[in-house]
Symmetry: C2
Subunit: 207 residues, 2 copies
């Protein structure tokens, strides 16, 4: 385990520039402890999402939560995940689903930033999780249609991402493949690949 300020992480980011510990310690584990997350901490995470920025302050984000305290609801959400994700996410004590409202409340026009703003809210939730000693692993791999059906999600809303939430757990019970994934070094493109000035593909002189 590595420690940075008061944050414990299995893999801190090897950053080119020093960023805040809440950001460098965030990462998506596959080894979750079965220890239940305190309800007040879950509320705090949702509160962090609540204060994200959004286009016209529309706040298009919604979250469905299932905890292991309610095994039927937990199993329902788990059943929406891709099999490869179920394998490890079943150990987490809390599962969530983020949902985007695709049209503006005020005029019914399409909200081009619905997914964008759900992404921002979920990022804020993840950062608050880090501050609480918790981890969130978001998943694109889930059955969108099944989730819509199970939860009766109306037209005009789209299931966006599934999430597992919990404390870090023992990885030794995981398959060898998942253990490798848990300890693989974190990897990102360098800034030169995506920061431009003047025109497309022209590396910014600020770097």
């Amino acid at each position: 385990m590595q420690r940075l300020n008061n944050i414990t992480s299995r893999k801190l980011a090897y950053t080119e520039h020093r960023i805040h510990a809440l950001l460098s310690a965030r990462w998506s584990p596959v080894a979750f402890s079965d220890e239940m997350v305190e309800a007040e901490k879950i509320r705090t995470l949702l509160e962090a999402a609540r204060w994200a920025a959004s286009s016209y302050n529309e706040q298009p984000w919604h979250f469905i939560i299932a905890t292991k305290d309610n095994p039927v609801e937990f199993e329902n959400l788990l059943s929406c995940l891709a099999e490869g994700n179920q394998e490890w996410a079943k150990n987490a004590p809390v599962l969530m689903l983020s949902i985007a409202k695709l049209y503006f409340e005020r005029n019914g026009a399409e909200n081009r930033h619905a997914f964008h703003d759900v992404g921002a809210a979920s990022a804020q939730m993840t950062i608050q999780a880090t501050a609480e000693g918790l981890f969130i692993h978001q998943m694109a791999g889930f059955d969108v249609d099944k989730a819509r059906k199970i939860y009766d999600i109306p037209d005009g809303y789209a299931p966006v991402a599934a999430m597992a939430l919990g404390y870090l757990g023992d990885s030794t019970n995981l398959s060898e493949k998942l253990q490798q994934r848990e300890y693989a070094e974190r990897d990102r493109k360098s800034l030169e690949n995506f920061v431009f000035s003047g025109k497309w593909n022209q590396v910014s002189p600020i770097l």
Copy 2:
């Protein structure tokens, strides 16, 4: 001015549950100082974006940056903004544009989470800005086609959001309407409106 830990803000969020100061102090000002942002701080903001989570670690985010040190480039980016945004964003020392790659590098399939993940990266950038004493105001109001043309952004990529970045400035030179906006109380839906369990619109018992 309000201070929370080492963070100065004009309007801390009135949260129902106590969230990290980096999140509660974040907000989107219209009064920016013309003081230039240090290049190392800008790099740190981009580094924070770099370490966001993304679907299949695709990292679909790109950023175009224009600083007032280069007046032609600054004017070009400013000209993409809606007039109502130009009015205040022209005072900021740095403008940015976020861009999403819409298809996966690995297989060319559509990336359903391209905007979502750009939103997450931009949120991380904004939180790092707060840690640096800086503020970011993201804007949906800009001319997407003009931005694509000016920067020669290729098919398969979409301009997502414009951003103004800088230190807080004096609001007294702004129009009365903008001054009101600068000091208006921050407002969010309550958690009961968007946190469900079991089925859609069923308020979660965790609240």
